[in-house]
């Protein structure tokens, strides 16, 4: 019924590197470190109100992460993570994140085949949530 389709979420595909091969393959970045990194990034550039941005992890694989952000805050999110270089207290060396892909619908995400399972689950959850009340 809503005229423009109400876009709820924005999906990011992020990759984290420290531009230094051996450190990269030594450390495995788990979800906790990702969350810590993103939190620092948002805090540094947007303060408390930045940290309030609602985001959740669709899937985390070592250096790759798929994140879902509220559509209204997608600009603050992307601007804050692209301008932040973490200090070396997390992993021992500064880390930067590059945005590989940013899209507003799930099926546009280019994923390798073995990611099918979590993607299907995310899509189904999305459908069930979105269909009911406009």
């Amino acid at each position: 019924m809503g005229g423009k389709t109400f876009k709820e979420w924005q999906y990011f595909k992020l990759s984290i590197t420290s531009f230094d091969e051996d450190i990269d393959n030594v450390h495995v970045i788990d979800q906790m470190t990702w969350r810590q990194w993103l939190n620092n990034a948002l805090k540094r550039s947007y303060g408390i109100f930045g940290e309030g941005v609602e985001y959740s992890f669709l899937h985390v694989e070592d250096k790759l992460a798929y994140i879902r952000v509220n559509h209204a805050d997608k600009d603050t999110f992307s601007s804050s993570i692209s301008t932040y270089i973490s200090t070396d207290e997390l992993v021992g060396s500064p880390l930067t994140v590059t945005i590989l892909q940013e899209c507003s619908s799930l099926n546009l995400l280019d994923i390798t085949d073995h990611d099918r399972i979590w993607l299907k689950r995310a899509v189904s959850e999305e459908e069930e949530e979105y269909c009911k009340c406009t």
Partner: protein
């Protein structure tokens, strides 16, 4: 008509005593609210749903507004209402709302668990749904439950008092408010202060700018404090003072006489309004000249 729906009553449960110092602090908060321009304030008594409630109706409402704040209301022209907020943790233990909602003007639910949230959004007859903004939300808020609850007429309350207390609470407040606004699609949002001391009261310009930054469109912001909040008051008062919103006790021509604004006129226990006879059949019946608003 500027409404604030949440000024906390210092008592946490029926057991603990209310010190006069706390009452004084509450009076000071109410006066500061009045200075800032608020006209209708609801004093909020938060209690656990699973607590043992006193049996008879008179004991249910510990905020005796007339005795304690009668003079204040007369002096400043404030209109005070009583509100109960039920903390719903495990729905099985709580008892029925019908007896409770007769004693209070507004009934609100504060779910702190997943089951509590589903119960309060589906079949509880309440006016307001509020959350603990200082700590994590019970669950990830889904459109389905929140929007259906808003369509039913239950409003969502944002309490900005948590933002002023300390940095950690402010951080939680920001993310909670964002998810509330997202999940309710910025419909049916009401703003309350939750001010425990005079220092935590803010005027409408400050509050609307805070909520505007959190994502609520600006027209809904200004409506949240005035129009939607008065609808919550109307809904609550009609539940007690009228039979299913058809026949209402009281009423009259001047502005102060509808069921919301007429705080003293309608006698609480008997829900009747005794008044000098003004309508007699011999009067002429044509429409009165419309006095300029």
């Amino acid at each position: 008509m500027l409404v604030d729906l949440n000024v906390p009553w210092p008592q946490n449960s029926y057991a603990d005593k209310v010190t006069s110092q706390a009452i004084n602090n509450l009076t000071k908060t109410l006066t500061t609210m009045h200075i800032l321009g608020y006209t209708h304030i609801a004093i909020n008594f938060t209690v656990n749903h699973s607590e043992k409630f006193p049996k008879d109706i008179k004991m249910l409402n510990p905020i005796h507004i007339k005795e304690r704040f009668g003079v204040l209301m007369a002096n400043t022209g404030l209109k005070l209402y009583s509100r109960i907020t039920l903390i719903i943790d495990d729905p099985s233990k709580g008892q029925s709302l019908s007896k409770i909602s007769q004693a209070f003007d507004i009934v609100a639910a504060l779910p702190i668990s997943e089951k509590g949230l589903t119960l309060s959004t589906t079949n509880l007859d309440i006016d307001l749904l509020t959350f603990q903004y200082g700590s994590r939300l019970p669950t990830f808020l889904k459109h389905k439950s929140i929007c259906s609850c808003v369509n039913r007429g239950v409003k969502l309350e944002i309490v900005y008092g948590y933002a002023l207390r300390d940095v950690q609470a402010r951080r939680q407040f920001v993310s909670n408010v964002r998810s509330v606004i997202r999940s309710s699609r910025s419909r049916g949002i009401v703003i309350g202060s939750g001010a425990t001391s005079p220092l935590e009261c803010r005027n409408i310009l400050g509050v609307t700018s805070l909520i505007k930054n959190l994502g609520l469109p600006s027209d809904k912001c200004s409506k949240a404090m005035g129009e939607l909040a008065s609808l919550v008051l109307l809904n609550g008062r009609l539940r007690n003072k009228s039979h299913k919103q058809t026949i209402v006790a009281g009423g009259g021509d001047e502005g102060e006489d509808d069921v919301v604004n007429d705080v003293q006129g309608i006698d609480d226990i008997q829900t009747i309004k005794v008044v000098k006879r003004t309508m007699d059949p011999a009067q002429l019946g044509h429409a009165s000249k419309r006095h300029k608003p």
